[in-house]
């Protein structure tokens, strides 16, 4: 359950792993299930398209606080983040989801928040799609994980198996990712917390025996023609 995760959830991963789609779905589910204040921060300083701030209005209408760049507008190509990003860390009334940019480069921005973070109330979730070339093997996942941990100064507390081929996703994709992540868990001890998939894409049943809690999602970042 998303409400069982720690108060501050930092979503990270290799770029293209599907962090933003997961983070947007996650914060919506969290809003439905959690009492009190819920916030999401879009700290993506790597991408200029497909950022969660594009969904600002929709999320705010649901009662979610959205923190993005201090510079408004989808056309701004400046790696600026808002000073408000630390507020939900220190104000413990907030349940907080942080959507980081991809790779270790995107993770550097956490430096601003790091001195205020209490590891005891922080989950550092790594989204993995094993069809992405750099995370297609257990060794690749572990290398990326170590890079992210080094850049963030935090240990990954769980994986999100988000293995997919977008509109060509089948149930076997989830099994493909599961096999690789089970091996990673064996070697590192880090568990798979969620298996995420876009419901409309999956025509078959989800396979049995997958590690992690099933997390069905809806497309928020992709138009029907994408």
């Amino acid at each position: 359950m998303v409400t069982d995760d720690k108060r501050v959830r930092i979503i990270t991963g290799h770029y293209g792993s599907g962090k933003t789609e997961f983070a947007v779905n996650y914060v919506k589910t969290l809003r439905e299930k959690a009492e009190g204040k819920v916030a999401i921060a879009d700290l993506d300083i790597v991408n200029v398209y497909f950022r969660s701030r594009e969904k600002k209005k929709e999320l705010e209408e649901m009662g979610i606080t959205v923190i993005a760049s201090s510079l408004e507008g989808a056309g701004v190509d400046v790696p600026a983040v808002s000073g408000a990003m630390t507020t939900p860390v220190t104000n413990k009334e907030f349940q907080y989801v942080v959507d980081l940019g991809g790779n270790d480069v995107g993770t550097l921005v956490l430096g601003r928040m790091k001195p205020l973070l209490d590891p005891a109330e922080t989950d550092f979730l790594m989204v993995v799609n094993t069809y992405r070339p750099n995370t297609s093997t257990p060794e690749g996942v572990i290398e990326q994980m170590e890079n992210l941990e080094y850049a963030a100064g935090l240990k990954v507390t769980g994986f999100v198996n988000n293995t997919n081929l977008v509109r060509e996703t089948t149930a076997s994709c989830l099994s493909h990712g599961d096999a690789i992540l089970k091996e990673v868990t064996k070697r590192t001890g880090v568990p798979v917390k969620y298996v995420s998939y876009v419901e409309e894409l999956l025509t078959e049943d989800v396979p049995e025996g997958l590690s992690g809690e099933l997390f069905p999602m809806k497309f928020h970042m992709r138009q029907a023609w994408m």
Partner: protein, 352 residues
């Protein structure tokens, strides 16, 4: 090779490597910066060379040099950066050298926006450099097609001795799609016996570019146009979508054509007999597609992410400018499915 999920910008970089390209000279610009980023790490792994030049102008002239030396060479940029490269592209074209140039277009004019656009049609398809010349222009509508076209671009470039521009937009560059890489080299690509590789004990090679006598220069132009005539005869490419019974045809390319394709589904459900001619080559423009279908088409619905730069080509292709109507968005905006459906209904009215 199994499918992997890649961002368009990375995928075109990998496609170039698969097609045997070992040289990239470029300069970063949003929304295509992942192309140089990817190649800066991947080219050295296959013995290739990546150089971030000091400017776009320097980069395109490095491309000129590498092409003259017989290399498969790539550069990429986005709209204002491609504008800067135009002089060099014109020189490479005039020298009859093969090179591949990727343009991930963004909103314009001037510095424009970082969101996707298609307003470089005139610059790229009509030629942004001086003189009588054409570049081959390929227009992909998906990440897979961008991969396939980059590979094909190297073959076309070598086949005819010409720059080939892969004209995509920021959305194709930024979006993730599953792709596979299956490069099969075309038959009949000539050896580069002319390449400047150092004379040694061999024959003298020379790449000519300056033809200063008017009669000679005119003859030179005619030789180039013989080459263009062969390209026009052999290389026109397009997709026909639901054309068999169509009375109306959308004409759209690249990202805009994806929105149109979805809109056609809705319009077909509402009873409209409408299809699409999707140019995959913008130069040569697919005249053959229009020759084939024009008799049954009442109106053409041109949809672009520009103010209508392709309209004159569609009007020329169907030889009736009164048959061409236009809907577009520009400045970095992408049309919605709803507005294309509305445009379709407006044009087709009761013509179900």
């Amino acid at each position: 090779m199994a499918k992997v999920l890649m961002k368009g910008n990375e995928a075109v970089g990998k496609a170039a490597i698969e097609a045997g390209c070992r040289y990239f000279f470029g300069y970063p610009i949003t929304p295509q910066s992942e192309v140089p980023e990817y190649l800066s790490s991947e080219l050295p792994k296959v013995g290739g060379t990546f150089i971030q030049a000091e400017s776009e102008v320097a980069a395109i002239n490095m491309v000129y040099g590498a092409a003259a030396a017989g290399a498969r060479v790539l550069t990429s940029s986005s709209s204002p950066g491609i504008a800067l490269k135009q002089e060099g592209i014109g020189y490479i074209s005039n020298a009859g050298l093969p090179a591949v140039i990727i343009n991930m277009m963004r909103g314009g004019p001037g510095l424009g926006t970082i969101q996707p656009g298609q307003a470089d049609y005139n610059m790229v398809v009509k030629g942004g450099a001086n003189g009588d010349y054409h570049d081959v222009v390929l227009a992909p509508a998906s990440v897979q097609e961008a991969v396939d076209m980059v590979m094909e671009a190297f073959d076309i470039a070598d086949m005819y001795g010409t720059p080939v521009i892969v004209l995509a937009d920021g959305l194709i560059g930024q979006m993730m799609e599953p792709v596979e890489f299956n490069y099969v080299r075309r038959e009949g690509i000539p050896e580069k016996t002319w390449a400047l590789t150092g004379k040694g004990d061999g024959e003298k090679h020379m790449i000519e570019n300056l033809v200063i006598e008017p009669d000679d220069c005119e003859a030179w132009n005619h030789r180039n146009f013989d080459r263009y005539a062969r390209i026009e005869a052999n290389e026109q490419a397009w997709e026909e979508y639901k054309m068999d019974d169509a009375e109306y045809a959308f004409v759209s390319y690249g990202t805009a054509s994806r929105v149109v394709r979805t809109a056609i589904g809705y319009l077909r459900n509402a009873g409209f007999k409408v299809g699409m001619i999707r140019p995959k080559t913008l130069w040569p423009f697919p005249q053959k597609a229009f020759d084939k279908w024009d008799a049954q088409i009442k109106k053409y619905l041109d949809v672009e992410m520009s103010m209508g730069q392709m309209v004159p080509d569609v009007a020329f292709a169907c030889n009736d400018r009164t048959k061409v109507l236009f809907h577009g968005r520009t400045g970095g905006n992408v049309p919605t499915v709803d507005e294309i459906v509305e445009f379709g209904k407006e044009v087709m009215g009761g013509g179900k």
